[in-house]
Symmetry: C2
Subunit: 326 residues, 2 copies
């Protein structure tokens, strides 16, 4: 493979299922990538990263691995691959990596993600990347990419308007595309976040509460109806969040609900990211995916009783001992 | 023990955790009781009933046991101890037992229970008995009474008014009291049904969906809040069901919600009847406890999104393979 070396340098905070996968793809394509690791540092420092992928397995025997952020060089792009449940770490991890030109690209799910990061990195452009991927870290430095893989990249602006496409975003998108990643650049990041929430709120929550795959959920008419009712509430929340001077609101087309349901019914059986976290005994991204949209809708004066019910059920599942998988 | 033999005769349809327990208590106190049995017939015909009870164990080596309703004599009182999930059987089982003076006493949970029975037994007075008991059938003809045991008896009238206390109801109540059962006669059966639903709707549902005892649920602030929100919706449903000419509506005092929550927090850990059914692999009483109140509220023009969400989740739990208990 002939690769064109990118002029951008990258740091990956959180070298796991998402950050590890996309970071490895970027390095394979010739980008300079610095990986921050925690438990896997010794393994990755010695043996690099290994990716088993439906798009073709590959290994990177040598990577720039770091155990401490203080040892990492300044970079052009910091990619945040941590789960939102670990975001308390960002105020320690992020500032040392930020030079005057550094942009931050967060690959995290949920709502109000960029605002949280902007508070830590107020001088940096903040971009969001929404990943449509099924991947998992199956061992130290060992990532298994099971399905999908597309990413939607958009710019965050803290005002109520689309973020447009700044030149740095285009450059990052070019690197992702050169790395073989199906990449879409979106002008309105919030619109894309809300679209993803229309799916994530019902299916992440219900997969945990009901211990079920997408296929099992869609096969049960009661669950399908509940998913539809939840999606309809998310669409209403998205619209309401434009009220009262709030900036996150977006008007989604109502037909998104039936389109997503129909699409989900024909998907291969899929274990949601929250279900994977649950099965692995990790904390659930309940605040980013459910709590933040819920609170934004409440602040805008809209009650979302179904989302609220699922929020509390998922919180309860997040606390209790985990059930075995079927 | 000196017993005063009652002049009333009883038939028990469904000789299980509830019908078997109360029927056995009545016989022990001197009443004539005829028990309809299905799978347990041979055992009970040969060896009678055995009750292990916190109030004192006892055995009835000889009972009037029947495998077929056609063999049973006419009685004064038919006690329905079947789960509501078996109510399709009633149109076969009930009519042969009904003489011109027979009253029907249903010990079933939920809403709209008496109307369903009245359609099968239009000439009979219908009474409801709400049981506050934790009991279980642990083997053929073998009942384990774990806790509580009180019963509230009330008359059903298909008009929007309390049923009052007909003489037959007083006579039945006297037999129950003589049998050592804590018995309350209520003038307004629907009021008592709604009060019980305020508890049953959240705690039966959540115990199944979250695989939890009352103690575990109350220890989690999110579940307590959700139970409170569900109870508040049930109180609203109870009020709304008086609209549009419907007869089941009742105005409950709003403080019932905090009172029941506080009481539940101090109860001994309790496995709800729906959770017991779930753990035993039996169908769940989801239509009687959730579906009927939900549809009555909808017919009265009230949306109950939280109850609806739990209804669909419990329906899903009723369909999927059962999870093991923790």
């Amino acid at each position: 493979m002939t690769v064109q070396r990118s002029s951008l340098t990258y740091a990956v905070i959180g070298t796991g299922a998402i950050g590890g996968y996309y970071g490895a793809c970027l390095q394979r394509a010739g980008c300079t990538v610095h990986f921050l690791l925690h438990r896997d540092y010794a393994q990755v420092q010695a043996h690099g990263l290994r990716v088993e992928s439906i798009a073709g397995d590959f290994a990177l025997p040598q990577v720039n691995a770091y155990a401490h952020v203080a040892d990492m060089p300044p970079v052009d792009v910091v990619i945040i691959g941590l789960k939102t449940t670990q975001n308390a770490l960002l105020k320690t991890l992020l500032p040392p990596l930020l030079g005057p030109q550094t942009v931050v690209l967060t690959l995290q799910n949920g709502l109000n993600i960029e605002a949280e990061i902007a508070a830590i990195a107020p001088q940096s452009p903040i971009f969001g990347g929404l990943c449509f991927i099924c991947s998992n870290k199956v061992g130290p430095g060992h990532i298994r990419h099971l399905d999908y893989g597309a990413i939607a990249l958009g710019a965050y602006v803290p005002e109520d308007q689309p973020g447009g496409v700044p030149p740095q975003l285009s450059a990052i998108a070019a690197d992702f595309k050169a790395a073989g990643i199906e990449t879409e650049v979106v002008e309105d990041l919030y619109m894309t976040r809300w679209r993803k929430l229309v799916w994530n709120i019902p299916f992440n929550s219900l997969s945990v509460v009901l211990n079920a795959t997408t296929q099992e959920m869609m096969a049960d008419p009661n669950v399908r109806q509940l998913a539809q009712d939840l999606m309809t509430e998310v669409v209403a929340a998205a619209a309401a969040c434009g009220n009262r001077g709030q900036v996150q609101g977006r008007s989604l087309p109502p037909e998104i609900v039936s389109q997503m349901l129909d699409h989900t019914a024909t998907m291969k059986p899929y274990r949601t990211s929250m279900k994977i976290d649950y099965d692995e005994g990790r904390p659930l991204e309940v605040e980013a995916i459910l709590g933040n949209p819920l609170r934004s809708a409440q602040a805008a004066g809209l009650a979302t009783p179904r989302i609220d019910t699922l929020y509390r059920l998922v919180k309860a599942c997040d606390r209790q001992p985990h059930r075995p998988s079927p």
